[in-house]
Point group: D2
Chain length 488, copies 4
Amino acid sequence: IQFADDMQEFTKFPTKTGRRSLSRSISQSSTDSYSSAASYTDSSDDEVSPREKQQTNSKGSSNFCVKNIKQAEFGRREIEIAEQDMSALISLRKRAQGEKPLAGAKIVGCTHITAQTAVLIETLCALGAQCRWSACNIYSTQNEVAAALAEAGVAVFAWKGESEDDFWWCIDRCVNVDGWQANMILDDGGDLTHWVYKKYPNVFKKIRGIVEESVTGVHRLYQLSKAGKLCVPAMNVNDSVTKQKFDNLYCCRESILDGLKRTTDVMFGGKQVVVCGYGEVGKGCCAALKALGAIVYVTEIDPICALQACMDGFRVVKLSEVIRQVDVVITCTGNKNVVTREHLDRMKNSCIVCNMGHSNTEIDVTSLRTPELTWERVRSQVDHVIWPDGKRVVLLAEGRLLNLSCSTVPTFVLSITATTQALALIELYNAPEGRYKQDVYLLPKKMDEYVASLHLPSFDAHLTELTDDQAKYLGLNKNGPFKPNYYR
Amino acid sequence: IQFADDMQEFTKFPTKTGRRSLSRSISQSSTDSYSSAASYTDSSDDEVSPREKQQTNSKGSSNFCVKNIKQAEFGRREIEIAEQDMSALISLRKRAQGEKPLAGAKIVGCTHITAQTAVLIETLCALGAQCRWSACNIYSTQNEVAAALAEAGVAVFAWKGESEDDFWWCIDRCVNVDGWQANMILDDGGDLTHWVYKKYPNVFKKIRGIVEESVTGVHRLYQLSKAGKLCVPAMNVNDSVTKQKFDNLYCCRESILDGLKRTTDVMFGGKQVVVCGYGEVGKGCCAALKALGAIVYVTEIDPICALQACMDGFRVVKLSEVIRQVDVVITCTGNKNVVTREHLDRMKNSCIVCNMGHSNTEIDVTSLRTPELTWERVRSQVDHVIWPDGKRVVLLAEGRLLNLSCSTVPTFVLSITATTQALALIELYNAPEGRYKQDVYLLPKKMDEYVASLHLPSFDAHLTELTDDQAKYLGLNKNGPFKPNYYR
Amino acid sequence: IQFADDMQEFTKFPTKTGRRSLSRSISQSSTDSYSSAASYTDSSDDEVSPREKQQTNSKGSSNFCVKNIKQAEFGRREIEIAEQDMSALISLRKRAQGEKPLAGAKIVGCTHITAQTAVLIETLCALGAQCRWSACNIYSTQNEVAAALAEAGVAVFAWKGESEDDFWWCIDRCVNVDGWQANMILDDGGDLTHWVYKKYPNVFKKIRGIVEESVTGVHRLYQLSKAGKLCVPAMNVNDSVTKQKFDNLYCCRESILDGLKRTTDVMFGGKQVVVCGYGEVGKGCCAALKALGAIVYVTEIDPICALQACMDGFRVVKLSEVIRQVDVVITCTGNKNVVTREHLDRMKNSCIVCNMGHSNTEIDVTSLRTPELTWERVRSQVDHVIWPDGKRVVLLAEGRLLNLSCSTVPTFVLSITATTQALALIELYNAPEGRYKQDVYLLPKKMDEYVASLHLPSFDAHLTELTDDQAKYLGLNKNGPFKPNYYR
Amino acid sequence: IQFADDMQEFTKFPTKTGRRSLSRSISQSSTDSYSSAASYTDSSDDEVSPREKQQTNSKGSSNFCVKNIKQAEFGRREIEIAEQDMSALISLRKRAQGEKPLAGAKIVGCTHITAQTAVLIETLCALGAQCRWSACNIYSTQNEVAAALAEAGVAVFAWKGESEDDFWWCIDRCVNVDGWQANMILDDGGDLTHWVYKKYPNVFKKIRGIVEESVTGVHRLYQLSKAGKLCVPAMNVNDSVTKQKFDNLYCCRESILDGLKRTTDVMFGGKQVVVCGYGEVGKGCCAALKALGAIVYVTEIDPICALQACMDGFRVVKLSEVIRQVDVVITCTGNKNVVTREHLDRMKNSCIVCNMGHSNTEIDVTSLRTPELTWERVRSQVDHVIWPDGKRVVLLAEGRLLNLSCSTVPTFVLSITATTQALALIELYNAPEGRYKQDVYLLPKKMDEYVASLHLPSFDAHLTELTDDQAKYLGLNKNGPFKPNYYR
């Protein structure tokens, strides 16, 4: 399969991923290792490629390709556990089931394949859709979950540890099927979208909608749109309020402590920490660390965020001012080379360095691959980089995303994004002719609010309803939307 | 002076102020009492109207009308105290002074007249402007500060306790001057703008820009613009990021505790509090109260804000669920009749009720003016409303804004808004032909960032600068703006 | 009246009060000004000494000496307001009233005379006691409250602004009465106890118990006891758990913000603050300031407290390390000259300095009384001390206790101490012969727990009861005490 | 080996451990499983008992008995990692090394054998002692660490998964040695002490001191002392300030979040949690959970602790009031049957139940072993208990201590206790004749302060020193102790 050329035009934009040539044709999410939620059971005993295996599920179907169909039961239990924190999707199944709003929808999907996405996929099926699925990342598939999906009849093509060739083969198996033609795309990273666009232009033209959740994938869609080549309406789920405010802020507040503890067992009380960047991710990290007794410094380039940090009780410094004294360095900038070799040289012994930002470029890890430094892998995802004088810097996940590599992400927060994806698919699939043109859209505010409202019962939260009189006074519809679109 | 008719068209829009007929021609800010920052010295000894007095400052000028020019020294000291927390304006004076960016500007202004606005006015003068000023509220003028401004040569027409007629007389004295014609307007509430628009259309046409900071005034400008009658570019300062995120969130975090303590000496630890509304104001109140050991409940109509409240650790309830058990009720909704007589009837003895929202309609105070209830004024701004069975509800500021009535607002936060106003004036006054049309604008992101950056030295905060390489990677100019306009 | 000699032996111990010779015979609490809770109404119109006035209450009694008996109604309302946060005492009245546990008790008292102590005094009366009362501080009497007590029939001798001669005259009027002999003492500071001991030794011998709540007074009692001269059992209320852990920690958490706001309107967000001392008082201050967004540094001499500060997220520094950069300095050490002239010289412009500790010696205020410095009183309790170069330091309450001078103390916390005092009186008065010898005692743990339990209903808190089985397992009585005496 | 009879007299006291007959002769710590810090490498390949193996370290010695001497290198690295957070011990080595204060000491020890205790043991050796060591718990030994100690020449007898017989055999091997007689005991749980006392009375008599750190062991010592049978001075390390305030409060604040995350990946934001018990452990748990956005309820039997919970902002309830609504139940009481079957029956689906208290009796786990309930082990340490209607309760660590079973304990906090132990040994070993009698002592306050001071450099904390004048004023020695012994 020749895909490298096809990807060329996508890779011209200034990428944040800093991938080297070998893997330039795979989106960032595809190559980030993603170990935390990864396979639970040990499958090292089996070195045969899934593509070469003959497997059949209990109903006799072999319309899938997974590591080991026998792991289905274990995966099913993980899916059931996930369901307990994804009651919004379950409740969506119940509310919409009678009418089957996705009846007739043929969805081809490409996402991480985890217990959480399994709940999404099975929700789509429950709403009437037929689904074929591959993985957006060669490492992130939970084999047991993939097996459980296959056992349940979903056409899933994915396993942990795919080669690049496997990756595209799996995508192709989802799209290229006799007697079945996709009419919806759910994508994470844009690889699937690109594949269909390039390889199956006739299929692409008849797609009724694309739902995309990643920064990278959204960027690609806007590029296509700008170039006049997007002949399909697309929904940008990445920039919806619920994603930005919940996924980033709260998710990081939850996972920064977890990621640091699991890898280093560090005590937080009294530790001096510098957090580079005070966007939503940085805000979440700072709040959690301060709450547990750390002394937190912030670096910022943007004076507005810097002023927020000040008002929130953090000293705003340049990294070089505090680099000698801090115990932990965390990057959350979206930028590159924020932590340089010079900084690393000046850190004190045992300083922990990790990245919570958008890419693996924030810490200049490459600069540490020099002969005078010794690398020692002390635990999974934990390296000691040792200077000639014996100083050790503790590098986590080799500078990749800490919360994907070393901690788990709360299922509940993933549920918010998954529900948004489901609603985006329903909206696009059912929208009357003309509501959406060949462009990239944000989910309507009202649907954002609906996503939020589906998650309130988990907290036993009770919304107040406007009286007629109040609604009139405020100039609002009683059922929302309650805020203007630009409100954050 | 006949002004009532002229105001008619402005008052048609659904107003949040709920003003009754008598005062319908005055904007909300004009009639809210505003005691906290009010006059420090006792001026009750002097009942002669300032309009009938002959006063001269030490330089022999009588181009002003204030309560008592002799209070100038006291007012000057208050201005000096305010300057210490408004170093952004002082630094603006220094940075821009050489070039006098407002040389030639003739600014007519109508705002609260406090030590803080005095610092703004004197900054405008230092930058080259000539200023004439009146008060946007008949109660809020600090007489000593007005005296100090008059002594310093500013043409100020304002005193605490103006009548409605005085109010418009003062405005008119600012505009209607022989041999001086305003070319810029700085307004808070829109009354001045309206007056010029209606009474002096020829002046209005030649205005180079209007800067408006209130919700009400901005609303009026958009109306004018919609009606095609706005022949002047206007800057909406109210919706700038620095105002929304700082003035509301942090200001309320600071002032809710202060307002409650000064009026009731209530202990916060262990108190059960319900906060109605979880916007920026509610978020600020909740954060402060929780931090001091209160148990806080939230009510919300918007599921997204409700979900944020949940994630932040607050139970989201309907007011009726908790009304019997809470010790304090705080409204922050912008809505009306959020606390009804029915709620008030069910409150427990000694429950404190107050309003931090946008108007005095949130608590249905009118419903308490019934014969069976006894009102007892126990302290300034504190009423006990007594039920026939002896139950007392503690009502603060008669339901008007607690932080304007019973606490002070941090000067530093006011400095952010004042600096934004100054920059908006400079921008409009110096903008090349064509940059701004006859419309309402938000301050450019870059200037928001500049406002923030001027406030960082107060915290000894040090911004990080992008390297050329990083700026290129991020696709940003090294000097900003660093975020898209819609970023909040 | 010659009292100076009599006091000599008491003043030999190393005192924390640093009082100078003139007032050395008055305990610290006597001379600290105590303005916050002081008289509400303006009594400046009346310069006649109360001792020279003839006043009668509405029942015709003149067995009292107060500023103005006509202020009784206002005082009564303040007492009623205080009662609402002192429900423990009200409930004690109800529970014990039937049996009148203080029937026959003749209590002579000397405390601050405020609305809160009025609730205590009236509780003692309701439990059967006869009371005569004077003030332990020449400034702290709330005249209206004293009037209300006098109107209600309590023999109170106290007013705001007593001279030293007045002070002892009032005490003497309480003790030296024909046909009435005190058998219990409730004291705050030890002046009353000393007076009875020295002047009326025959009365002293027949006292059944002394209850003392101040550090100073307790110190004096231990001295007497050591010297073998304490012929009466005494209860040390100052060191009871409820006083130490609640009065200090929570009270300071509540009042530090209030004291700073009322005097300076300072914004807390982002301010750099150094707190000297991390005992209970310092812990309370640090918690509140950090919670509102300040950046807090701690100084300590004790490594254990220093380690707690570290674990709680505060940097532990020497004062000289941060003195140039901080915005606020707060002393909570119980030590002297913690803030020296050298520190004051190095502070930055506008730095606020105040004291929350046990005495007025923590800040070396005397060192600021030098010719080159200008003092400017900018508000009540607020002085600007101005250096020759124009630098101003903002000194609060001239270095005296901020929370007594510039803020209020939560009534609820005072209720805990007042209830402890009441129970201590009941215990001593009713204790069987021999339970208490001529010594100083702490309140039994069980009674501490009872005090706490009386305060739980205010929070609607529900205690869990041990089952028989659990009590046996833990080796505890089901009704407590639940902890050993040394538990804190 | 017959030990059961010997233990009889120890087991008469009302124990907190609720151990059943089979294991009644082993102290609580011995039988609690202790998995978290347990062996890193997989040793399941080797089923031969260490007692039957012939092993020799690289120096040719076989004076030890461990699982696998070849794991020494891995263990050494873990010890080195631990050393980085135990700099107090390292610095003790440096400060005391010259004088070898333990020269001649022959210490027999019985503790958990982890990387942290290895640092302690090697410190004792560095200070001159000879050590022989066994494990106080049959599960808690980190085999690799034991191997590293053996390789370094320490006579260690311990492995993970000992039988009861192995347990006593190991202890005996430490004590019963030709030509070597212990003169100091370091114990955790009292088993070693008992063994020496019973089996080797002649050795026991010549012991110069016992240091004990567990509740159980201390209880046993006080019993012996009461019975007049303690012929040796003993130091109660368990009740030292540094242990109580740091080990409990901060340790639990750190580990509760970690324990819950590692086992359940639960999101904390918005979760309703009830914490049973508001002692130091409960306070730590509540602080952490509230800080991360949980809504926390508290149950208490002690009104003083209950009042603290109220003031800290937690609702105090009975467990039955909230059991239906909470998402997590955490016990921290030291009591038994705090969570009963009745409570468990009423919990909602997915409720998580765990124990942070002193024993495994707080949750009535036995009551769940009934036929109608299904147990499903979903992960290590995580059981789903399933009711007939499908409801699942998530039980962690089968009700044993969560932070020992499912999280790590911060090395730094362990360092505080370990340093206290080392100082206690030095003090007892070097104390002049007569300073300590045959009784149980607390470490002198001054040494507590010394322990704390050794830990301050980790935080770069700088203590303030008293001036001579201040020390005199306070009546303190400049070098401490700074607080009375009873101060907490």
